[in-house]
């Protein structure tokens, strides 16, 4: 005797997982109440109907493929990043020293065979920008905004404190050209010469 409820016995009979004890119980139940066999038959019919119904709908699943992998695109940058990139590129270009060594800093976008213009655009090869390297046409410090305290801690030698602050200076730079980061047809970032609008009144 498996002592399972009738619904479990019927389920196991349908799933073909009924043990000998389950079948014995089902036989005994059918002897007491012949309607058990009718319920078993109905459950079998329901199972067949449901399987057909599910199969018919699931055929649609076979038509659904994964979407094609997309080429990696640059994440959409906030608007101010365009300005920052433009300024950085302009500084890099100005600081790259290509005036002295045009061949060394030639743009990779330029035809190898064409002569480098005397003051053509250049991309920083190492991407490092050091203020010491800047070769601006002119650079005036106009003022300084209030500094922002970022971190303070006792100095390592025990004397005084080490303070990390952010200083924001206001400068007027003069560069020959400004570039923005644009995308080519493959989604790669490329510099594009750009004529900026007037941002503010002259200081």
């Amino acid at each position: 005797m498996s002592n399972q409820p009738e619904e479990v016995l019927i389920h196991r009979a349908i799933e073909l997982t009924a043990s000998a004890a389950d079948w014995a119980d089902l036989d005994a139940a059918a002897l007491r109440d012949p309607a058990v066999l009718q319920r078993l038959a109905s459950a079998l019919q329901d199972e067949g109907d449901l399987r057909r119904g599910v199969e018919e709908r699931l055929a649609a699943a076979e038509r659904v493929a994964l979407p094609q992998a997309k080429a990696r695109r640059l994440p959409r940058a906030p608007a101010w990043l365009g300005w920052a990139a433009a300024a950085a590129l302009a500084l890099i270009w100005s600081a790259s020293g290509f005036l002295d060594e045009p061949a060394k800093h030639a743009s990779p976008l330029r035809d190898a065979g064409s002569p480098a213009p005397e003051r053509g655009p250049a991309l920083a090869g190492d991407g490092v920008l050091s203020l010491d390297d800047l070769r601006l046409v002119s650079n005036d410090t106009l003022g300084e905004l209030p500094s922002m305290m970022l971190e303070t801690r006792p100095a390592a030698d025990g004397r005084g404190y080490e303070v990390i602050r952010l200083r924001r200076t206001l400068e007027r730079l003069h560069v020959d050209q400004i570039f923005r980061v644009a995308e080519d047809e493959h989604g790669n970032a490329v510099p594009a010469q750009w004529t900026p609008p007037v941002l503010s009144e002259r200081m």
Binding site: H11, D49, R57, R63, A65, L66, P67
Partner: protein, 203 residues
């Protein structure tokens, strides 16, 4: 394919291997479709929703932390899609109810004109979908070829014994629903094909 193979496949897919993801999807898209069927608003398009699941899978597979729990993870994606669809359907139904002049939907083919077997299958599936999802979902999953009771248990976070109990009860509930529908709406019972002598004479 063994369970260990599938876990390895899920691990490789999560690591970014496209071929592994493709194979994983082909193996389990019917499972995802079954989850949608169990929770689907009746009017929603299974194929469209499954496509949404595929897109979501591609976008989030890198976040799969436990490859051995891929099925429950995929189920949660399908569930979210089904629930989103239910919300959309609800809004649409609300909007439609407020429009007096909404044209009536074209009537589907009468049951009597359908193949009796197909109609019975569709009716069984519809009623299974109306069951409490605790019962309807495993019952529909059980109809997915190749999906074992153990895999259903894993996907639902239940023991195998609990799944068996739910399946047994679900069968009984489905039978009750079918009997109630036949009692209330005898006209919806599928008519036999019109092949009587009178029909032939009429033709």
């Amino acid at each position: 394919m063994t369970d260990a193979d599938q876990v390895e496949l899920a691990r490789r897919a999560a690591a970014g291997e496209r071929a592994a993801l493709e194979l994983l999807w082909r193996l389990h898209r019917r499972f995802a479709a079954a989850v949608l069927l169990a929770h689907l608003p009746r009017r929603a398009d299974l194929e469209d929703l499954l496509q949404e699941v595929a897109v979501s899978l591609c976008e989030h597979i890198g976040e799969l932390r436990q490859p051995e729990r891929f099925l429950p993870w995929l189920r949660s994606i399908a569930l979210n899609r089904a629930r989103s669809s239910a919300r959309r359907e609800s809004l649409r139904a609300h909007a439609a109810a407020s429009l007096d002049a909404l044209p009536a939907e074209p009537a589907g083919p009468a049951a009597g004109n359908e193949d009796a077997t197909r109609a019975a299958a569709a009716r069984a599936l519809e009623l299974a979908g109306r069951l409490d999802p605790d019962y309807g979902e495993p019952l529909i999953m059980k109809c997915v070829r190749g999906l074992s009771q153990r895999q259903i248990a894993t996907a639902l976070g239940l023991s195998e014994a609990a799944v068996e109990t739910r399946l047994a009860r679900a069968r009984r509930l489905l039978r009750r629903e079918l009997e109630q529908e036949e009692a209330v709406l005898p006209s919806r019972r599928v008519a036999a094909p019109r092949t009587s002598a009178a029909d032939r004479a009429e033709a």
